[in-house]
């Protein structure tokens, strides 16, 4: 009796489910060779604001003074445009992709490991940059890049960028490292106190190191790895796992680990180095000789935006010199707008974060979603895609 009841319940669930499914099979089915971008029109002209805008963003990107009274670039926007800002903070690129798929949000601050997925998934629309007055002041080094455009159609407005650096405790690590080799050295004296970023995208850091140290692997782009190259990178990381004390993804955790000395050497962001220094931890962050991976964030607009005008107004506002300077300074990254450098409270800010230092960013490989069609242009092999990277990351951590 009881079993029959359970079965009935189970089959009821399955029926409900089958009823829900089958609706959205239209736009998928793009394979490695035949990735095509869903055709979505960009906004032709700007109308009046709709009164509100729904945003998905990284923590610290949309501040209305509720975190810190002095940190506020939302209130002015609402006052000027009449668009009320509803913000949803996402913790990871993948959460952003998931949230944007709901169609509930108008704009998103996507990193390069999310932006392409959003574009090819048909979740975001091309941006009519003519409608964004501040776009002309964005550094040229950020416009029409692999992660924010397809076939020179812009899909977003650059927000800011930064590099993943190598940080170490100056009191413990006596010999100042200059190479990523320091975190991959199997005989490292700092075994058990090395840290690494906890995300599949970290595989690119290993690939970048191999690109410079193992030329025979012929890696041209750390996000485009064929079977052999991928195996070399994951082998290197599996070996590195022995050295790792902990992996970090939460930046407050990393600050505390470096302050206490649980971690003495490993990857970091500029803001983490700044926070740790402010906390009196003897740390230093460098860009190693091999260069580094990094991020470049892009404001994108949903293909199903219910408030497109407010969305455009927001994208224009957030890269305006004043707002862009405020957000870059709060988050600790290089602003995208040239004119923002004159607006920062700390006059050395743009120098510290290398905002106009294209030579510095030449050595930075921005996060990009690995896809089966190799990003470096090779057509004779298929590359490992992001889901393969994810599964490999689980295996690396053991």
């Amino acid at each position: 009796m009881r079993h029959r009841f359970f079965l009935a319940a189970l089959s009821a669930g399955v029926l409900v489910l089958a009823g829900c499914g089958g609706g959205d099979s239209g736009s998928t089915g793009s394979g490695p060779g035949g990735l095509s971008v869903p055709k979505i029109d960009k906004l032709a002209s700007l109308g009046a604001g709709e009164g509100e805008v729904n945003i998905v963003s990284w923590a610290g990107y949309v501040e209305d003074g509720s975190t810190d009274k002095t940190v506020d670039w939302v209130s002015d926007f609402t006052k000027e445009t009449g668009c009320k800002v509803n913000n949803k903070v996402a913790a990871t690129s993948d959460e952003m992709v998931t949230l944007m798929k709901t169609g509930e949000y108008d704009v998103v601050s996507a990193s390069g490991d999310a932006s392409l997925r959003l574009i090819y998934g048909g979740d975001v629309a091309p941006v009519n940059t003519d409608l964004i007055a501040n776009y002309k002041d964005v550094f040229d080094g950020l416009k029409n890049k692999q992660w924010n455009s397809v076939d020179s159609v812009a899909y977003g407005i650059p927000h800011g960028r930064g590099a993943n650096l190598l940080m170490y405790r100056t009191d413990v690590v006596k010999e100042a490292p200059t190479s990523w080799g320091a975190v991959f050295d199997a005989n490292s004296p700092y075994k058990g106190k090395i840290t690494a970023y906890d995300s599949p995208i970290y595989i690119a850091d290993a690939a970048l190191y191999l690109m410079k140290t193992k030329p025979e692997l012929n890696i041209k782009n750390p996000y485009a790895l064929d079977d052999t190259q991928f195996k070399a990178a994951t082998d290197l990381l599996t070996q590195q796992n022995e050295l790792i004390g902990e992996y970090w993804s939460d930046y407050t955790k990393e600050v505390q680990a470096f302050k206490a000395g649980n971690s003495v050497l490993g990857t970091t962001w500029q803001i983490i180095a700044n926070l740790a220094e402010a906390d009196k931890a003897p740390v230093k962050a460098i860009l190693p000789t091999e260069g580094a991976t990094g991020w470049s964030d892009t404001w994108m607009i949903s293909a199903k935006a219910k408030h497109p005008n407010c969305g455009y107004l927001w994208m224009n506002h957030i890269i305006s010199p004043k707002a862009n300077a405020a957000v870059a300074e709060w988050f600790g990254e290089a602003p995208a707008n040239k004119l923002a450098c004159a607006q920062t409270a700390d006059k050395n800010f743009c120098t510290t974060f290398h905002a106009d230092d294209e030579a510095y960013f030449q050595n930075v490989w921005y996060w990009t979603t690995p896809i089966a069609r190799c990003l470096d242009g090779r057509t004779d092999v298929t590359c490992k895609d992001y889901s393969a990277w994810t599964q490999a990351w689980t295996t690396i951590k053991g």
Partner: protein, 267 residues
Amino acid sequence: MLSAPLLWLVVAYLGALAVLLVSAFWTVNSFTGQVVKQFTVANFRTILTEEVYRNVTLRSLGVAAAVTVICVVLAVPMAFYMAKVASPRSRKWLVIAILTPLWASYLVKAYAWRILLANGGPVDWLLGGPGNGPGYGLFAVILVLSYLWLPYMILPIYAGLERLPDSMLEASADLGARAGRTFRQIVLPILIPSVFAGSIFTFSLSLGDYITVQIVGGKNQLIGNLVYANIGAANNLPFAAAIATVPVVVMVIYLIAVRRSGALEEL
């Protein structure tokens, strides 16, 4: 026909489980992350054949078992004292003392332990200097989880023992039984179902936990982290669902085993 609670059970609980089970047989488009609703056993094949999933499952089971054992060892004497030794007045305060930690947020407590166990932190200091403590790792996970779930073990045992009339203990003594025999024949039959009832909480909560591991677990990952990584980082819901069936299966087996002891009546 179905009463309201039963309806809730069917729709919200069994329905959700059914959805979980069905979606575990789907897959995702590797690039756009859209769910592809085609039947495939690929997810389960990966879980069963890749060594890493076996290792993580065994590690999680080990942690859950260790936490449960530690909680039992600590909770039995405490609950016995509360139920049988303490005066009714202090009993009330003891119950409150056990419950108060539950008022604080789980995260606050886990982060507090992160600070306690940090290099050169209070635990290191008690043990004689930086690096002498356990640091972050599996041991820290077991320690913190035991701390977090201890009240869930104490309360059912306390409730069980409280129902044991003192007069029975006295009768046993009057009839000439020594302490050991009284414990075996009077206390234990009450105690065992209560311990199993408590162990359902500690075991299942530990088996599904992923936050404590992230905070004090060093580089370790448990089943919960794999589920989380596949929902969050990988956006691969079907695979996460497939992994999530592992603890469900474990718990079903555990519950069936425990049911024989009569523990489910203690809940």
